[in-house]
């Protein structure tokens, strides 16, 4: 057994001296199919990059702490909380936001259609995150029953309480097998 008595790496740490701070860091992202050459400061989250720099306001900031799911986007096809991802760490990734779901001819994604069909929202603030999360759920393939859908959607809060219809919409898409 190696020596375990090493100094701790956790704990309070002071700010960096301003002189040591980097300028903007180059970053390449493919966002909704479009390759973007960007420059960001390292503390910019993917959510803030999307909204503040790229003016893609579809992705919402709710809690900004990974608790509500309003910021959910698909990165390389997987749903994540964009508020907890530093943009620099996603260099080279493909990002899909709610703006990128419809077909080029404007036809809505089957999940968007299902949310409309089932009246799966009221105020709509959580909806982009719900829809991105639901598409991630379908691709993951681990939910079939309403109970499994509810469990797999627990990262998306809806203050209006549209949960019943959200589950119905997702169940419908799963049943039709229409999501790409």
């Amino acid at each position: 057994m190696a020596d375990l008595d090493l100094p701790a790496r956790q704990g309070f740490a002071p700010d960096a001296s301003p002189a040591a701070l980097p300028s903007e860091i180059p970053l390449t992202l493919t966002i909704n199919g479009e390759r973007r050459e960007l420059h960001v400061r390292p503390w910019t989250t993917l959510l803030d990059l999307l909204r503040e720099d790229l003016h893609l306001y579809g992705t919402k900031k709710g809690c900004d702490h990974g608790q509500c799911g309003a910021c959910t986007v698909l990165v390389n096809g997987q749903r994540i909380n964009s508020c907890l991802a530093l943009a620099v760490s996603k260099d080279g990734c493909e990002v899909t936001t709610v703006e990128g779901l419809a077909a080029s001819d404007g036809a809505l994604h089957p999940m968007q259609e299902a949310f409309i069909e089932h009246d799966a929202f009221q105020c709509g603030y959580c909806t982009p995150g719900q829809i991105c999360s639901a598409i991630g759920l379908v691709h993951e393939g681990h939910a079939r029953t309403p109970e499994e859908i509810r469990e797999q959607m627990s990262g998306n809060i809806c203050r209006c309480g549209a949960y019943t219809n959200i589950v119905d919409a997702i169940e419908d898409v799963l049943a039709k097998g229409t999501t790409k």
Binding site: A2, P7, A8, G11, A16, L84
Partner: protein, 339 residues
């Protein structure tokens, strides 16, 4: 969030050099805990080392000893749904799926899950004293709001819990943490990885300042039939454990060859009592034996007011989990009814 410099090393050796470059350096992997803590000014790194591009840490591989080696950057989702993990270590898969949300599990990594920090309200609030965040300032949790806090292994300086579900299952499975530092590589049994608070609650683990986690290995599977992960919490999904129990038996005929019992949500690290597990060796697993074992596990448990209910909750949870494991009817993480 404070300002910091940023590096994205391309090799473990480069990462170790970056990580060891200064005390105010933090490692970024999935970011689900660190970025959150940075937003609360609880973590204020001067330098951030992004390890997400390190090669060779995203694989789950067979070991020569019949176990599995899980790279430190394998996401919680990828571990939980790996067919080998599901078949041979269903306890681990179940525990991971009991935690967080699909979005968080897709981003959070194996190494990061082990190194996540407590969710103690006072630790998270940079405006309050906290010995873990700022040593020597005190522990308001002891006399304050402490519903989620520890009942075992506490100290006068800290009553925080380790929040991981994954680590509780890994403790029961006797996983080994592989780390790399300036002095080379070493292996740390998970029981020696996390620490009790003692008089240095600022130290969650025995990882050195220059070390990064590279992998977790699981020994050859023995607990794929009689196991359960029972997690009790304030919501049915997406809540940290008030009490959780990873229980597993290696059975021989109708008796226990070996028992493993690890608790989450009750201590500064996954809580195991080897003497209690040994009491079940050679025994027919039934409720009378479980009650005696439970008394031994909870010996010395201490409540602080708001969390005192956890002692009785843990007592009942251990007995129920041992019953589930003995019957081979593990707790479902979807159907939340406790059978």
């Amino acid at each position: 969030m404070n300002r910091f410099s940023y590096a994205r090393p391309g090799s473990v050796a480069d990462a170790v050099r970056e990580v060891g470059s200064g005390p105010a350096t933090k490692v970024l992997a999935g970011g689900t805990n660190l970025v959150d803590l940075m937003k609360y000014n609880v973590e204020r790194p001067a330098h951030l080392v992004d390890v997400t591009r390190l090669p060779g840490l995203r694989e789950i591989e067979e070991t020569g000893e019949g176990g599995l080696r899980i790279g430190a950057l394998v996401t919680n989702s990828a571990v939980a749904y790996d067919p080998r993990v599901q078949e041979r270590y269903p306890l681990l898969s179940s525990a991971i799926l009991a935690g967080a949300t699909a979005q968080l599990r897709n981003a959070a990594t194996t190494g990061g899950n082990l190194l996540q920090r407590t969710r103690c309200y006072y630790f998270y609030d940079a405006a309050t004293p906290c010995n873990k965040r700022e040593p020597g300032t005190g522990c308001p949790a002891k006399t304050g709001v402490n519903r989620i806090h520890a009942i075992l292994g506490t100290s006068e300086h800290c009553i925080a819990t380790h929040p991981s579900d994954m680590a509780v299952a890994m403790a029961a499975l006797e996983a080994v943490i592989h780390v790399s530092g300036l002095n080379g590589e070493r292996e740390i049994p998970i029981a020696e990885f996390h620490r009790l608070p003692g008089d240095t609650p600022e130290r969650d683990t025995n990882l050195g300042v220059d070390e990064v986690v590279t992998a977790v290995t699981l020994p050859a599977p023995r607990f794929a039939t009689n196991y359960t992960y029972l997690k009790l919490r304030d919501r049915l999904s997406y809540a940290f454990a008030l009490v959780s129990v990873a229980a597993a038996f290696d059975m021989e005929g109708g008796t226990v060859r070996e028992a493993r019992i690890a608790l989450g949500g009750v201590a500064h690290k996954p809580w195991r009592v080897l003497e209690a597990e040994a009491m079940l060796k050679g025994v027919v697993p039934e409720r009378g034996a479980f009650a005696m074992v439970t008394e031994r596990i909870l010996q010395g448990a201490q409540g602080y007011g708001g969390n005192s209910f956890k002692i009785e909750l843990a007592r009942l949870a251990i007995i129920r989990a041992l019953s589930q494991a003995a019957a081979g009817t593990p707790q479902s993480q979807t159907d939340k009814r406790i059978q």
